[in-house]
Amino acid sequence: MLLVPAMIMFCCGVYGFITRRNMIAILISLELMLNAVDINFAVFNRYLWPEATEGMFFTLFAIAIAAAETALAIAIIINLYRSAKNIDVRDLNKLKY
């Protein structure tokens, strides 16, 4: 039951990720997807194996790692902004090939 909004949230994340051009917006979409997954973990844990704690802990760690990742991503974005004055992903393709 709780999976449905999580699922919609995930799809919103997907939509945002592939349509937005601002890197921060993309990051936000990413967070949405991550959260949707986290919820799924917790829900499955709670409903199917209530005695186990794996899902919960997984979520816990995912949150921690997501935090770290976001911090780093933002650091990169800021740095990029400093050098390129722009955070539009479509213009940042110099690293290809």
């Binding site: 999976l3 909004p5 999580a6 917006a25 790692i65």
Partner: protein, 170 residues
């Protein structure tokens, strides 16, 4: 079936979640998007509370709502130029994106509907206490998470250093 209160709660939370996440990815103003994200995150925290994972919900609020969103806001303020904080999306990419998202929704929704009992009752559970959580974190063996814990702490350290190095002014 559950109590009416919990159903109402569920509806409220689910609606908030769906609405705010949709708004977060569709709004043009990036600062607003961050705000909607914050609400979504709160809704997610509510879900954790509803699942009796209080600690998880607390962490969600503290780390996400309290930490990450603040980071977002700061970075948005740092990177957006005045009057330039809106972006125009071409309709083509919007259509394509929504098609992809709907397809995704369709497939996972089908999987969900066909496989899961949507209205399953929540089994009874003793809410894991802080003590239990702490012990699990610090123990090894079955149900112990010392190794991931340490790994995450190393990761965080690395992130701190990395963040400092990357964002440092040259």
């Amino acid at each position: 079936m559950e109590s009416v209160g919990s159903i109402i709660l569920y509806i409220v939370v689910a609606l908030a979640m769906v609405v705010f996440s949709v708004l977060a990815v569709t709004t043009r103003k990036i600062l607003r998007a961050a705000t909607y994200l914050l609400f979504t995150l709160f809704a997610a925290a509510c879900v954790y509370f509803m699942l009796d994972y209080e600690f998880l919900g607390a962490v969600q609020i503290a780390v996400y709502a309290g930490g990450i969103v603040v980071l977002f806001v700061f970075s948005i303020l740092l990177t957006s130029r005045p009057g330039h904080n809106s972006e125009r999306l071409s309709s083509k990419s919007r259509v394509l994106g929504s098609v992809a998202a709907l397809a995704m929704l369709l497939i996972s929704g089908y999987a969900l509907v066909s496989r899961c009992a949507l209205y399953a009752a929540k089994p009874a559970l003793d809410t894991p206490t802080m003590q239990q959580v702490g012990q699990s974190m610090m123990s090894t063996g079955h149900g112990g998470y010392l190794l991931p814990f340490e790994a995450v702490s190393v990761l965080l350290l690395a992130c701190i250093i990395g963040g400092v190095v990357i964002a440092r002014k040259r």
